[in-house]
């Protein structure tokens, strides 16, 4: 084995541990659930010293790596792109990897729960399958009629702009699991499915808009939306979810009436 090259940078003692960054103490309370141990969920709490640059995800990592390895949560990229770590932080759906601890009220315990409305499997991990089932039902892929073009499918920048907002979805389920209509019985398609239908319905290259509108004209489709704006508030990508749902409603109306 080759020896690791010596560092070329001389560090003064005390530097390199994040010493320049202010630290503070937090209390992290996590909703724990393990069906193999108990049917009841409970809260566990830890006192942690965290840095000003740390996010809720870093606090969860600290707990998992240094205090209790059984704490379970999903995370993948840890940079707000993969959409794995949506959770309910202080009662609001957010991505743990995009929520800085310093932006929360650190004088009170920080509450972390799994997103609501989906079956909890363990701790912060929920069964996302009902969510993805709705997503699959709206056919989130390009369907085009006629001959395939020899080159690319052209689109003007105005046509692209029409559905730009809804292309940002990362399928984290923060919106659907913040929707009180979805909480009741999980039958509603949910904001995320409608947002992703919107992305194709208003795409000039797609020809299956009518099929998607017909799917969302269902009893559990867009008409169950009560415009409470929970979804727009929860979206970590800032998608105007409620607006997208209204546009789909309008599209169904103008097609039928």
């Amino acid at each position: 084995m080759e020896k690791e090259p010596a560092s070329k940078v001389e560090l003064a003692p005390g530097v390199g541990g994040g010493g320049e960054i202010p630290t503070f103490d937090i209390t992290l309370k996590v909703r724990r659930y393990n069906p193999e141990v108990s049917d009841d969920a409970h809260w566990d709490e830890w006192q942690l010293t965290m840095y000003g640059t740390d996010r809720v995800l870093d606090a969860l990592h600290k707990v998992k790596w240094e205090h209790d390895g059984t704490v379970s949560f999903r995370r993948s990229c840890a940079h707000g792109v993969c959409g794995s770590d949506a959770m309910r932080i202080n009662g609001r759906n957010r991505l743990a990897c995009k929520t800085l601890l310093k932006d929360l009220d650190t004088s009170k315990p920080i509450l972390v729960e799994p997103i609501k409305g989906l079956p909890v499997e363990k701790d912060l991990i929920v069964d996302m399958e009902p969510f993805f089932q709705s997503y699959r039902e709206i056919m989130p892929f390009l369907i085009s009629k006629g001959h395939e073009p020899t080159k690319e499918r052209l689109q003007s920048s105005e046509e692209r702009e029409r559905y730009d907002d809804t292309t940002k979805c990362i399928l984290c389920a923060a919106c659907t699991s913040s929707c009180p209509v979805f909480w009741t019985d999980g039958q509603y398609f949910g904001p995320a499915a409608i947002v992703n239908a919107h992305r194709f319905i208003f795409d000039s290259r797609d020809d299956a808009g009518d099929m998607r509108l017909e799917i969302l004209n269902d009893k559990e489709g867009v008409w169950r939306c009560r415009t409470t704006f929970n979804c727009s508030e929860a979206c970590p990508r800032g998608i105007q979810v409620t607006k997208a749902i209204s546009e789909v409603k309008q599209a169904i109306l103008t097609r039928k009436v």
């Binding site: 089932q133 999980g186 008409w223 169904i252 039928k256």
Partner: protein, 155 residues
């Protein structure tokens, strides 16, 4: 050797209670949604004119008595006005409660019972109200005694 079949990923694994029953197509929910918006806009006008005419115009609130109502319903304009208001308000309200039941009841059997009560009471109120508007007699004769108000023709 038989080729082992690998199930497609997560096939049939949606938690029970989340799978939607198919075949609930039709435009009922869309029409209900549209009706709420249109009837709401009309009701704003109907109700505020109703309140103004009853409570503010003329003698105001002190002018309301049996004779006042009888006088209003002698005119077909107010008959139609009140009839429209009755029907729109009742259907608007019923649909609103229906939606709330759908949103808050978790079991289909609970929904069915609550909606049963709701629809029954709606029908009773709408039928009674319509009857009153059209069969209202300002000068009733009870047990052979005519309760004559000053606006009634002399017997």
């Amino acid at each position: 050797m038989a080729t082992p079949t690998i199930e497609s990923p997560r096939s049939g694994r949606v938690a029970p209670g989340y799978s939607r029953t198919q075949g609930s197509r039709g435009n009922f929910e869309m029409i209900a949604w549209l009706f709420m918006r249109i009837s709401g806009a009309i009701l704003v006008v109907l109700i505020f004119v109703h309140l103004y005419v009853n409570l503010v115009a003329g003698d105001g609130i002190s002018g309301i008595d049996f004779g006042f109502v009888a006088g209003k319903w002698a005119s077909p304009v107010w008959q139609i006005w009140d009839l429209t208001m009755l029907w729109l308000a009742m259907l608007h309200g019923t649909n609103g409660i229906r939606v709330i039941i759908n949103d808050y009841a978790e079991k289909n059997s609970t929904r069915m019972w609550l909606k049963g009560v709701l629809y029954t009471s709606t029908v009773v109120i709408v039928v009674l109200g319509t009857l009153v508007i059209f069969t209202f007699d300002p000068c009733p004769v009870v047990n052979g005694v005519a309760h004559v108000a000053d606006y009634c023709p002399a017997p």
